[in-house]
C-alpha cells in the first residue's frame, strides 16, 4: 500500500504505462468508485432506462414470432373463416394489431430510452465536470505549479470530451444492440431449439472476428491518434509561427515534414479502415450463411411437415437481422478504451488533496484591522528544502511595506504566504491575532487580497472584470472604483466603454491599462490587507505615471505589501524589507536604510546616478 501510495496516488502514476496487476486493479477500482458516485443521484432513472431498453428490445425481437404466428395460425383461420363465409376481420385485426402494437412499443420505447440515456449520462457528465472544476480550483498553487496548466486543462477538456464522445456516439445504441441480439436469440430458441443452437454456433466466428478486430484496431487506433496529433501539432505550430517560418524560409522543409506526417496519418487511417473492411463483410457473410444453415436445417423439416412454414420464414428473418448490431459493438471498443483511460486520469486528479485546506471550525473575523505577525515562521515546499528559514516579522495595521530583492530571493513566497497561497511549514502567521489557517475562506478573501503580476483579464466586459473584486457591486460602485484608481478615462475611450469585451478587437488593453483594471478590481474588493506584485515590465513613461497615481490611491490606509519594481514605489512606502536568500536582511524606513548605508542605500545611490542622463 505504501509503495502504491507513493507511485500512484493522485496524478502521480498517470504517465506510466507499465502498471502491474495490483496497480491496475487499484486504478480500475478508483475509476469504478468515481462512476458509482456519479451514478448515485440518478440511480432510479438508470433503473427505468434499463427497464425501457429491455421492453423495447423484447418487442423488437418478437416481430419474427408474430409473423410465424400470423402465417401458421392466422392464415388457416382466415382460410377456414372465408370458406365458412364469415368475416376474416377479427383474426386479421388480431395478427396485424399485435404486430403494430409491438412495432409502436419497440419504436416509442427505443426513442424514449435513447433520450433518457442522454439525460442520465449528461447529468452525470455535468456532475463530473463540476466536480473536476471545483476540485481544480480548490487544489493549492503548489499543485498547479507542479502539474502545469496544460495538463489540468486537458484533464478538463480533452479527457472529458472523450467521455462525451462515448456518450454521444451511442452508449445507448450499444446496450440496445446487445439486448436486441440477446432477445432475438431467445426468440429463435422459442421458435425452434435446433435453430437456436445453429445461431449460437454462428456466434463463435462472429466473436472471433470481433475480438480480432478489437485487438488489431486498438494498436492501429492508438498509432493513428499519435500520427494525427503530430500532424496537428506541426500544422498549428507552423500557422502560429508563420512570421518566423517565412522570415527564415522554412516553407520547403515544412512542406516535406508535413507531407511526411500527413502521409503517415493517411497510412495509419487506411490501415484502420482496412481492418473494418475485413470485419464488416465477415459479419455480413456470417449472417448470410447462418440463414443458409437455418434453411438447410428447417427446409427439409418443412417438407416432412415437422416444421411450420411460418416458423421457417420467421427464422430466416431473425437470422438475417441478428448480427446487424455487431458492427457497432466492434467500433465502439476504441472510444470505450479512450474513455476508460480518461476516466482513470480524471479520477487521479480528483484524488489529489489540496494542501491548503479550509478550517472546519473557522474563527470569525468579518472586518480585520490588518495587523500581520509572523512568529518562528518557516516555509518549504512539502518535505523539500527550506525556502524561508525561521523568521519573525510584525506589520502593524495600515503600514505600507515595500519588499525588494533579487530574482528568486523569496520575495514572492513571503507575500504569497500572507495570501495563504501556501501554508507555513512551521511557526505561526496571524491576522489581527487570528491564525490565518483558522479563517474561513470568505473572511480570508474579504480581508486579504493579492493583485498578481499578470493582471489577468477574463473574457467578458471591462465592467465584469472589475466586478470580480466584488460580484454584487452596482455599476456605480464599479465606476467609482475605476475612478478612484484613475482608470475611468481610458475605459470611457474604449469602443463600448465599460461594456467593451476585452477579447475583441479594439478591446485589447495595453499592459498599463490591464494593470489599472486589476487595481480597480482590488479597490472594489476593499480588503484590509493588500498584496501587490507590482509588475511593470513593459510600461512606458506615460502609462507608468498613470499606474503610479492609481497605485497610491489604491493603497489608501490599508496594510500593504508591495514587491516593488521601481524606486518610485519604494519612495511611497513606510518601510522597506530587503530580502536575500530567503532572509530579511534589511528592515527599516527608506530614509533609515539610506542613512545606514547597506544594500538598499547602494541601490538607491545607483538609481539616482542613472537618472542623471
Amino acid at each position: 500500500m505504501s509503495r502504491r501510495d507513493a507511485t500512484l496516488l493522485g496524478t502521480r502514476g498517470e504517465e506510466r504505462l507499465d502498471l502491474d496487476a495490483t496497480e491496475r486493479r487499484y486504478v480500475r477500482a478508483r475509476s469504478w468508485m468515481l462512476l458509482r458516485d456519479l451514478a448515485r443521484p440518478v440511480r432510479w432513472k438508470l433503473l427505468l432506462t434499463a427497464v425501457l431498453v429491455v421492453v423495447s428490445n423484447a418487442a423488437r425481437a418478437s416481430f419474427p414470432l408474430i409473423i410465424a404466428w400470423g402465417i401458421d395460425w392466422g392464415l388457416p383461420q382466415v382460410v377456414s373463416t372465408l370458406r365458412d363465409g364469415g368475416s376474416p376481420a377479427p383474426v386479421l385485426a388480431a395478427v396485424g394489431g399485435t404486430y403494430v402494437a409491438a412495432a409502436l412499443t419497440a419504436g416509442l420505447l427505443l426513442g424514449t430510452y435513447t433520450w433518457l440515456t442522454a439525460r442520465v449520462s449528461q447529468s452525470m457528465l455535468l456532475d463530473l465536470r463540476v466536480w473536476v472544476f471545483r476540485h481544480t480550483q480548490r487544489l493549492s498553487l503548489e499543485f498547479h505549479e507542479r502539474y502545469t496548466s496544460g495538463r489540468v486543462i486537458s484533464r478538463q477538456t480533452s479527457d472529458l470530451d472523450s467521455l462525451r464522445e462515448l456518450l454521444d456516439q451511442g452508449v445507448s445504441s450499444l446496450v440496445s444492440g446487445l439486448m436486441f441480439m440477446l432477445f432475438t436469440t431467445v426468440s429463435v430458441f422459442v421458435l425452434d431449439w435446433r435453430s437456436g443452437l445453429v445461431l449460437l454456433g454462428a456466434f463463435v466466428p462472429v466473436a472471433i472476428a470481433v475480438r480480432w478486430y478489437q485487438v488489431r484496431s486498438e494498436a492501429v487506433y492508438r498509432r493513428s491518434r499519435v500520427s494525427s496529433a503530430r500532424m496537428i501539432v506541426h500544422f498549428v505550430e507552423t500557422m502560429t509561427g508563420i512570421r518566423a517560418v517565412q522570415a527564415f524560409r522554412k516553407e520547403r522543409t515544412n512542406d516535406e515534414t508535413y507531407d511526411r506526417l500527413a502521409s503517415r496519418y493517411r497510412d495509419d487511417m487506411v490501415h484502420s479502415l482496412n481492418l473494418f473492411g475485413v470485419l464488416q463483410p465477415t459479419l455480413l457473410v456470417t449472417g448470410n450463411l447462418t440463414v443458409v444453415a437455418l434453411l438447410v436445417l428447417g427446409g427439409f423439416r418443412v417438407l416432412d411437415g415437422t416444421l411450420a412454414v411460418g416458423v421457417l420464414v420467421a427464422l430466416l428473418l431473425a437470422g438475417k437481422r441478428v448480427f446487424q448490431p455487431m458492427e457497432q459493438v466492434a467500433m465502439f471498443y476504441s472510444s470505450f478504451q479512450s474513455a476508460t483511460a480518461a476516466l482513470e486520469k480524471v479520477s487521479g486528479l480528483l484524488e489529489e488533496a489540496p494542501t491548503v485546506r479550509e478550517s472546519p471550525t473557522p474563527v470569525p473575523l468579518p472586518r480585520a484591522q490588518g495587523r500581520l505577525e509572523f512568529r518562528d515562521a518557516e516555509f518549504g515546499y512539502g518535505q523539500g528544502e527550506v525556502i524561508l528559514p525561521a523568521f519573525d516579522l510584525t506589520i502593524p495595521a495600515g503600514q505600507t511595506v515595500a519588499v525588494v530583492g533579487q530574482t528568486g530571493a523569496g520575495k514572492s513566497t513571503l507575500v504569497k504566504l500572507i495570501a495563504r497561497f501556501y501554508d507555513l511549514s512551521s511557526g505561526s502567521l496571524t491576522l489581527d491575532g487570528v491564525e490565518l489557517d483558522q479563517l474561513s475562506a470568505t473572511d480570508l478573501r474579504h480581508n486579504v487580497v493579492m493583485v498578481t503580476q499578470e493582471a489577468f483579464l477574463f473574457s467578458g466586459s471591462v465592467a465584469e472584470n472589475i466586478a470580480l473584486g466584488r460580484p454584487d457591486a452596482s455599476d456605480e460602485e464599479i465606476q467609482a472604483a475605476a475612478r478612484a484608481v484613475g482608470a475611468h478615462e481610458f475605459i470611457l475611450s474604449l469602443p463600448e466603454g465599460y461594456d467593451t469585451d476585452v477579447t475583441k478587437r479594439g478591446g485589447r488593453l495595453s499592459a498599463g491599462q490591464r494593470q489599472l483594471v486589476s487595481f480597480a478590481r482590488a479597490f472594489l474588493a476593499d480588503p484590509a490587507v493588500l498584496i501587490l506584485d507590482e509588475a511593470t515590465s513593459s510600461l512606458d513613461l506615460p502609462s507608468e505615471r498613470l499606474v503610479q497615481s492609481g497605485l497610491e490611491r489604491l493603497l489608501g490606509d490599508r496594510t500593504a505589501l508591495i514587491i516593488a519594481h521601481r524606486l518610485s514605489t519604494v519612495e511611497i512606502a513606510d518601510r522597506v524589507l530587503v530580502v536575500h536568500d530567503g532572509r530579511i536582511v534589511e528592515d527599516g524606513t527608506p530614509e533609515d536604510l539610506i542613512a545606514a548605508g547597506g544594500r538598499f542605500a547602494e541601490l538607491h545611490a545607483a538609481w539616482k546616478d542613472s537618472l542623471v542622463g
Binding site: 512570421r243 522570415a247 527564415f248 420464414v313 495570501a419 499578470e454 477574463f458 507608468e544 542622463g613
Partner: protein, 629 residues
C-alpha cells in the same frame, strides 16, 4: 488570455457554386481515383442487387417447399444459390472498400498537403485575420468529411437510390397493394431523414461551439487561478462554469431528443407498415391472390430496403455538407498570395549595387484590415542605413517600430513608397533570396519543436550547413554571441528537443536562442525587434557588446528599449506617431531633442529594481554611465 475559438458563421465565398462546379475544384486531387471509384460503385451496386436477389430465392423456395409433392432437390438448389449470393454480397462489399478507400484517403491527403502549402505562402496579414483554429478545422474536419463523402457518401447515395427503385419494382411485381402500403411508409422516412441530418448537424455544431466556449472558460480558470484564488472567487467561477456546462448538457439532451424522435420513427413506422402488410398479406393469401412465398419474399425485401430508405436523405444532407467543405477549402486556395516572387526574374541576376545598404523611401503603411480612410500607421518614412552601420530605432509603445522592421523581409508590403535592400526594391527579389539577405529576430520569439541545433541553424547559409565543422563553428559563435551558453548545459546539449514535446525554455532563454538564430543566418542586413527585452541588464549589455564585434560589417537595424543598447548604435532614429522625428548619434540627439530625452528617460524609469539588483554590480553601473558619455 485566450480568445474563444467561436467559429463565427462567416460567409463562405463560393456558396453560389453548384455541386458540380465545386467538384471540379477538386479535380487536381482526383488523379487516379476515377476508375477505382467507378469500380467501387459497380461493386456496391452489384452488392445491392445481390442483397435484393436473396429474398427472391426465399420466395421461390417457400413456394416450392409448400407445393404439394415438393422436392428436396429444390431445397438444395435454393440453399446453393443463397450460399453463393451470401458470399458474393460480402465479397462485393469488401471490394467496394478496397477499390475506393485508399484513393479517397489519397484525395484527402493531397488536398490537405496542398492547403498547408498554400497557407504557408499566404502573407502574414492573411494569418492575422484567420485564427489558427479556423484553419485547423479546414485542414482536419472538413477534409475528413470530404473523404467520407467521396468514399461512402457519393457511392452509397447512388446505390441507395438504385436499390430503392429496383426494390420497389420487385415489390410492385409481387403485389401492388402491399407495395403501395410500403411506399406510404417509406416516403415520410426518406423525407424525415434528410431533415434529421440537418437538425442533428445543427445541434452538433451548437454543442461543439458550446464545448469550445466551455474549454475557454476552463483555460481561463486555470491560467487565471492566481487571480481567482487571490480574490476568493472560486465560487463565482464555479457558478459561471456550471451555468455554461448546464447549457451544454441541455444542448446534448436536445440533440438526443432529435435523435430519439428519428429512431422512434424509423423503427415504429416501417414495422407498423409491415404489421398492416402482414394482415393484408394473409388475407390475400387466403383468397388465393398471393402465395405464402411472396409474403415471405416481401418481408425479406423490405428488410433489405430498410437501410437505403433510412439513409438516402442523410446521404443527401451529407452532400450538402461536403459542398460547404469544398467551398471552404476553395476559399483559402483562391486567396491571392499577394506577397510573392516578382513575375519576371530580376534583371541582372542576384547582383546588387551596394550590398548591405538598407533604405526606406517615402514608406507609408496601413494594415490591410484597417479602413481605407484611416490614418496610416507609418507615414513618409525615409531612412538610409549605410552598409555595416548599426542603427537603433527608438519610440514609445505604439509608434510603429515593430511594423516598420517587418517591412524589410516583406512580412508585410508597403502601402506606398519603397524599401530598398542593397539598393534594390525588396519586391524585385525572389522571396527566398531576399530573406537570405535579411534576417530578423522578433520580440516574441517563436521557436519550433526541434533540437536547439536545428532551431539556431534554421536560416544558416546552405554552403555552411554542407560542412559539419563549419556549421558547428557557426552554431557556437551564434550561441556565444547571444549569451546562450546555457544551451550546452541542457540535458542533451545542443541536441535537446524543445517545444511541444520537448523541454520548455524560459522567456529569456527563448529570446537568446531566437537571437542566435538570426545571427547564424549570416545576413547582409539584420533586423532585431527588441530581441533582448526579457534579458536582465547585464546579459543584455554583454549581448550588445558581442553583437558589435561579431556583426562588424553587417547592417543592423535594432528596435531598442534600453539606453545601453541605444548608446552602442552608430546612429539612432526616433519614431513617433508613425513618422521619423529625427536621426543622429545618441549624443547629438540628447543635445538637440527634448522628445528624445523624454523617451530615453522613460527607458530609464523602466529599469526594475530586481534587474538592477540581479546585475549584482550595483556600483558597476556608474561604469556604464562612463562608457556612454
Amino acid at each position: 488570455m485566450s480568445t474563444p475559438a467561436r467559429p463565427s458563421p462567416r460567409r463562405v465565398r463560393g456558396e453560389e457554386r453548384s455541386l458540380a462546379e465545386a467538384l471540379r475544384r477538386l479535380s487536381p486531387y482526383l488523379e487516379g481515383i476515377r476508375w477505382r471509384w467507378g469500380a467501387g460503385l459497380a461493386s456496391a451496386m452489384l452488392a445491392g442487387l445481390v442483397a435484393l436477389a436473396i429474398p427472391q430465392v426465399i420466395q421461390q423456395l417457400v413456394n416450392s417447399v409448400l407445393r404439394p409433392g415438393g422436392d428436396a432437390s429444390d431445397v438444395w438448389t435454393a440453399v446453393a444459390i443463397m450460399a453463393v449470393l451470401g458470399v458474393a454480397e460480402g465479397a462485393l462489399v469488401y471490394l467496394r472498400r478496397v477499390f475506393i478507400l485508399p484513393p479517397a484517403a489519397g484525395v484527402e491527403n493531397r488536398a490537405r498537403v496542398a492547403l498547408f502549402r498554400r497557407l504557408q505562402r499566404l502573407p502574414v496579414s492573411f494569418h492575422d485575420s484567420w485564427p489558427s483554429g479556423q484553419l485547423l478545422s479546414r485542414s482536419v474536419g472538413d477534409l475528413s468529411l470530404l473523404r467520407r463523402w467521396i468514399a461512402f457518401g457519393t457511392v452509397m447515395f447512388v446505390v441507395s437510390i438504385v436499390t430503392i427503385v429496383v426494390g420497389l419494382g420487385l415489390l410492385f411485381a409481387t403485389s401492388w397493394i402491399l407495395a403501395l402500403i410500403y411506399l406510404a411508409g417509406a416516403v415520410p422516412i426518406m423525407w424525415r431523414s434528410f431533415h434529421f441530418r440537418n437538425d442533428f448537424r445543427a445541434a452538433s455544431r451548437l454543442s461543439q461551439d458550446q464545448a469550445g466556449d466551455l474549454a475557454t472558460t476552463v483555460e481561463e480558470s486555470v491560467h487565471g487561478i492566481r487571480v481567482l484564488k487571490a480574490f476568493g472567487r472560486g465560487g463565482e467561477a464555479l457558478e459561471g462554469f456550471r451555468g455554461q456546462a448546464d447549457t451544454l448538457r441541455g444542448t446534448e439532451v436536445h440533440k438526443a431528443a432529435v435523435l430519439s424522435k428519428f429512431i422512434s420513427l424509423i423503427v415504429a413506422l416501417p414495422e407498423t407498415v409491415i404489421g398492416l402488410s402482414l394482415a393484408v398479406g394473409i388475407y390475400l393469401v387466403a383468397t388465393g391472390d398471393l402465395t405464402v412465398g411472396a409474403v415471405a419474399g416481401f418481408f425479406a425485401t423490405t428488410a433489405v430496403l430498410a437501410g437505403p430508405v433510412e439513409s438516402v436523405g442523410q446521404l443527401m444532407g451529407m452532400s450538402l455538407s461536403a459542398k460547404t467543405a469544398i467551398d471552404r477549402h476553395a476559399e483559402v486556395m483562391d486567396t491571392p498570395v499577394d506577397i510573392a516572387d516578382p513575375e519576371a526574374p530580376p534583371a541582372g541576376g542576384t547582383a546588387v549595387d551596394t550590398p548591405g545598404a538598407l533604405a526606406f523611401r517615402g514608406v507609408r503603411f496601413r494594415y490591410p484590415d484597417v479602413a481605407e480612410g484611416a490614418e496610416p500607421l507609418l507615414r513618409d518614412i525615409t531612412l538610409d542605413l549605410r552598409p555595416g552601420e548599426t542603427m537603433a530605432l527608438v519610440g514609445l509603445t505604439g509608434s510603429g517600430k515593430s511594423t516598420l522592421v517587418q517591412l524589410v523581409p516583406r512580412l508585410y508590403d508597403v502601402t506606398a513608397g519603397q524599401v530598398l535592400v542593397g539598393g534594390r526594391d525588396v519586391r524585385e527579389y525572389e522571396l527566398v533570396e531576399l530573406r537570405r539577405r535579411v534576417s530578423i529576430a522578433f520580440e516574441d520569439s517563436t521557436l519550433f519543436s526541434d533540437s536547439i541545433r536545428n532551431n539556431v541553424l534554421l536560416g544558416a547559409p546552405e554552403r555552411v550547413l554542407a560542412d559539419p565543422a563549419a556549421a558547428q563553428d557557426l552554431l557556437d559563435l551564434a550561441l556565444d554571441t547571444a549569451q546562450a551558453q546555457f544551451a550546452h548545459r541542457l540535458p542533451e546539449g545542443l541536441d535537446t528537443e524543445i517545444g511541444e514535446e520537448g523541454l520548455s525554455l524560459s522567456g529569456g532563454q527563448r529570446q537568446r536562442i531566437a537571437l542566435a538564430r538570426a545571427i547564424a543566418a549570416r545576413p547582409e542586413v539584420l533586423v532585431l525587434d527588441d530581441p533582448l527585452s526579457a534579458l536582465d541588464v547585464r546579459t543584455e549589455e554583454a549581448v550588445t557588446r558581442r553583437l558589435r564585434s561579431v556583426l562588424a560589417g553587417t547592417t543592423t537595424l535594432i528596435v531598442a528599449h534600453r539606453p545601453s543598447t541605444v548608446a552602442l548604435a552608430d546612429r539612432v532614429a526616433v519614431l513617433q506617431d508613425g513618422r521619423i522625428l529625427d536621426v543622429g548619434t545618441h549624443a547629438e540627439l540628447l543635445a538637440r531633442s527634448a522628445d528624445y530625452r523624454f523617451i530615453i528617460s522613460s527607458f530609464e524609469a523602466d529599469r526594475s529594481i530586481e534587474s538592477v539588483m540581479d546585475s549584482g554590480a550595483i556600483t558597476a553601473m556608474t561604469g556604464t554611465e562612463g562608457d556612454r558619455a
